[in-house]
Homo-oligomer: 127 residues x 2
Amino acid sequence: MAKTLEIVIDRNSEQPLYLQIYNQITYNISTKKLNKGDILPSSRTLAEVLNINFHTVNQAYQKLRTNGIIVLGKSKKYAIAEGNNSEKGTKLIEKEKDMVNEALAMGYTENDIIESVKRIISSIRSD
Amino acid sequence: MAKTLEIVIDRNSEQPLYLQIYNQITYNISTKKLNKGDILPSSRTLAEVLNINFHTVNQAYQKLRTNGIIVLGKSKKYAIAEGNNSEKGTKLIEKEKDMVNEALAMGYTENDIIESVKRIISSIRSD
DNA sequence: CATATGTTATAGTTATTCTATAATAATATA
DNA sequence: TATATTATTATAGAATAACTATAACATATG
């Protein structure tokens, strides 16, 4: 069952719990701690581990599913998607736009932003 | 007073009103529709134009101020900040990380992401 | 059959967001 | 000086989102 999935939730974060789960699962995927085909723990199991309600985990799973990041097998278990889902990214583009605008308004130059993104990608790659 | 500030709010958006205002002001700045030193409309005035409560506008202004994007002059009016505020960006980096992780998990390659950011920057520059 | 799973439904609580008023202090303006 | 405009603070309430608690159902697994 599921690799040991490292998720830490912070109840004092301004970020909703379900988004914390969502983001940390994408992190686990991009750092190859989770790989294509890997099975996720059931929402009830993960909820118990994290000491939260299973509906909250479900909310994260639904968002991952909507974005094509995980898929439900006929075994009724969620797994990391095999395929590419680059067509699903309209909301992602919107987020990128907001992020870029914010950075520019803060005084970052175009180069600053690109270098920053490159640095982030490298640091993720080395995790 | 204040350049004609183009802000459109969408009450059906999933994004809170104050964030819509925040994001659109950063957009106006990065597209040079607002420039350093330009004065923003008072929170009451903008609230009336947008047909929302002035506290909501205030929330956006406070966030802009916290991020060093606008400053309050002794005239009691908010203006676009003159200086660079690149040191304020720790939350921005967190957002970038989440964005990059999400993109990687969706199947974007590193190059996809960088190209996407470059494309967004270009499109903003040409607005 | 018994268990584990996702899904749906209902209900309630808590937190966030948005609104509505009012008051105060500081600045600008007539 | 007096009036108006501004940000700020303080309350309070309404509306929405997030989180929790149970229960029930269908399906797949062992």
